[in-house]
């Protein structure tokens, strides 16, 4: 009896193991599922940012972040609302669908009252003093799937759910230089297809920064992260983004994604 039970247990274990391996999607599929997540044809939300240095000194900023799809081209506009010293600073990006084509990026500086074209090649550059990169900001919890090799490592518990752990390695050295890291490991929630956590390593394999994404809930039927904390592992500086006033339902005027609107702001 015991022998038959042991054989049955072994068989069940082997079946479970096989079944588990079969259900783990490969890395490219995980990336595809992340990017296939519905994020609405347009979105607008308020970002409250806390920039905290390693001694605990905190600076706060607030901004309105708009995004709209124009066919396969994504346009993103960010308008600073406070503090008064940087109010009206605005950023616009046109993310073109053509592979290899750099984004077009503009920055409006109220002190100059000019919209300046800025280079988009350095995607890993910190975004306006935060710990998020221009790339992170543009991707909005999605990923640049075609710029990386993707590998699924395992599945493990993360918080109250189960996450696929996938690794993204830039396609080549040039790409690594452009995005500013050598590898990212994502913990991707299988329910929402949003990464709950990300650990970045620099090109030498040292910890670079980490991101924690939480308070994920549906708005207008779309899974939305409401809190993102990014910590620079080298400097100890971190940025906490609080997302509020999310609206996917109202279509955003196309004119808001123009150089003219950068100058005018979204008051």
């Amino acid at each position: 009896m015991v022998k038959r039970f042991a054989i049955a247990l072994l068989a069940a274990t082997a079946w479970a193991g096989t079944a588990g391996a079969e259900t783990l999607p490969d890395g490219a599929e995980v990336a595809r599922r992340i990017n296939a997540r519905d994020d609405g044809s347009s979105a607008q939300r308020t970002l409250e940012m806390e920039l905290i240095d390693k001694s605990g000194h905190t600076r706060k900023r607030s901004a309105r972040l708009l995004r709209r799809w124009f066919g396969k081209e994504k346009r993103l506009a960010l308008f600073y609302l406070s503090p008064a010293t940087i109010e009206d600073t605005a950023f616009l990006v046109h993310d073109f669908p053509e592979p290899g084509r750099d984004d077009a990026q503009w920055l409006y500086l109220p002190a100059l009252r000019k919209v300046r074209r800025i280079a988009a090649r350095d995607r890993g550059k910190d975004f306006l003093g935060t710990d998020m990169s221009y790339e992170d900001m543009k991707n909005e919890t999605k990923v640049s799937a075609g710029d990386h090799h993707w590998t699924t490592l395992r599945e493990e518990a993360c918080g109250d759910t189960s996450c696929l752990v996938v690794e993204a390695v830039p396609l080549d050295e040039d790409m690594a230089q452009a995005v500013g890291y050598g590898k990212v490991t994502y913990w991707v929630d299988r329910t929402t297809w949003i990464a709950r956590r990300a650990e970045y390593e620099d090109t030498a394999g040292r910890p670079k920064k980490s991101a924690q994404i939480s308070e994920i809930r549906q708005v207008d039927g779309i899974w939305t992260a409401h809190r993102i904390e990014v910590t620079n592992r080298k400097s100890g500086h971190r940025t906490v983004f609080h997302v509020s006033d999310v609206d996917y339902a109202t279509e955003i005027d196309a004119d808001l994604f123009t150089e003219r609107s950068l100058r005018r702001g979204v008051r």
Binding site: L112, R113, K114, R121, S235, R260
Partner: protein
């Protein structure tokens, strides 16, 4: 000044209308304080506090009002001693004063409203054209206050004008139409000012054997006949930001027109400063290539009038077309660092004996800016150099964001070169500057 408020109030009343949904206005204030200490024989050039209150008021879904004031108090009154009346500026755009140490100004007051896809901005405002930093080819819609030469931010030194500004999207282009019924021109410092112009090109020419005299500036005053108009068509084409600009205006710097005569002590020459009409036609471009941004602007001015030191010239004024351009490269190759280089050239198209400047004039600018500690600390250096006169200006600056609402900085403004040069004329005005900006 009072007429300015009346104009503004009329515009507001006209556009807001009885149906305006009155939400509470947003109020903010920026307070700048600077202490400038002269480095040649230490004395304070200024110790000033500038408060700039701003009001933004949504008067409806597509209409909003913006009002920006400025109050400046200077402990020393050495920049513009005695606070002279800026006669170059129209009475409804002029700065008011309360004694020698305090002045106040309605900087901007305008209504923005949408009419279909057309945006109208009506009122006193700044219009900024061009792609250049620190040097101007097309950024001449608004005149400039030269109280501190070019050391002030252009945002602070531009003289806002009463303007009708319509922006209309047509296809992929944005068309801006301007009408400026506000005959105001550069506010130039008086001879006793700290940054009074002394280079020959800015003064009436010398005529040997003649006793010179200078008449009052003859500023145009007719609202309609002396108004300016302009158009800018901008588009994003093939990865390039492009614009074509045209401005029908009067040159903002007066030309000294000479008139010869005779007096009890011999021959005389009387100069009358006048503002003459010109056409400015130009364009801009910018694009990013990898880590580089290339940008430029070019402008052709139809009738530039400049002083000539040629005794055979009747009125001591030469007339020429002028072609000017700026080509700039911004390089973002080092992380958190911007390196920027610009070449600016101005070419007088007509050769004439006695120009008080070289026919081809070249300036170079370099900017290095590096951010530290998540943009909390900024180090920058700006170098402007004139190749003709070998003069220039160096401006190192260190800024630190102490709190969200408080930034401190320290910097130097160092002039060098010959006194006939645009920068060299201020060689004795080098200064160290400490400043703070507080915002609420």
């Amino acid at each position: 000044m009072r007429r300015g408020w009346i104009w503004g109030s009329a515009v507001v009343a006209l556009l807001a209308g009885p149906s305006a949904a009155m939400e509470p206005p947003e109020l903010s204030i920026l307070v700048d304080s600077e202490w400038a200490l002269g480095m040649r024989g230490p004395h304070s050039q200024k110790l000033e506090v500038v408060a700039q209150p701003e009001l933004h008021w949504a008067l409806g879904a597509d209409t909003r009002l913006t009002a920006i004031g400025r109050l400046r108090a200077d402990a020393f009154d050495r920049i513009l001693p005695g606070h002279p009346r800026a006669t170059e500026v129209s009475s409804f755009s002029r700065v008011g004063s309360a004694g020698d140490h305090v002045d106040f100004e309605l900087r901007e007051l305008f209504i923005e409203t949408q009419w279909g896809r057309t945006w109208l901005t009506l009122g006193k405002q700044q219009i900024v054209w061009g792609q250049a930093d620190g040097l101007k080819v097309l950024d001449v819609v608004n005149p400039q206050d030269f109280r501190e030469f070019i050391l002030d931010e252009f945002d602070d030194s531009r003289i806002p004008l009463w303007t009708v500004n319509a922006e209309v999207p047509i296809g992929a282009a944005n068309v801006q139409l301007l009408w400026l019924p506000d005959p105001s021109y550069h506010d130039l410092p008086e001879p006793d000012a700290t940054f009074a112009f002394t280079a020959p090109r800015f003064l009436p020419p010398q005529l040997p054997g003649h006793l010179p005299s200078l008449e009052q500036t003859n500023r145009p005053r007719r609202l309609l006949a002396d108004s300016d108009a302009g158009i800018r068509i901008a588009a994003f084409v093939g990865g390039f930001d492009l614009s074509v600009n045209y401005l029908y205006h009067r040159a903002d710097r007066p030309v000294f027109e000479g008139r010869r005569g005779s007096g009890p002590f011999g021959p005389t020459v009387t100069f009358t400063p006048r503002y003459r009409r010109t056409h400015l036609l130009g364009g801009t471009f910018s694009n990013a290539f990898g880590d580089l941004t290339l940008r430029g602007e070019v402008g052709w001015t139809s009738d530039r009038r400049l002083s000539v030191e040629d005794p055979s010239d009747t009125d001591l004024v030469g007339q020429t077309g002028e072609l000017a351009y700026v080509l700039g490269l911004d390089w973002f190759g080092f992380r958190d660092t911007l390196l920027s280089f610009q070449v600016f050239q101005s070419w007088l198209l007509r050769d004439e004996t006695g120009w008080l400047r070289d026919r081809l004039e070249s300036n170079l600018t370099f900017l290095v800016r590096r951010e530290f500690w998540n943009e909390r600390l900024r180090l920058e250096g700006i170098w402007l150099h004139n190749l003709n006169d070998g003069d220039g200006l160096l401006r190192p600056k260190l800024s630190f964001e102490l709190r969200d609402d408080l930034t401190l900085w320290a910097g130097l403004d160092i002039f060098y070169g010959r006194s006939r040069g645009v920068f060299g004329e201020f060689d004795g005005r080098d200064r160290a500057v400490l400043g703070m900006k507080w915002g609420w």
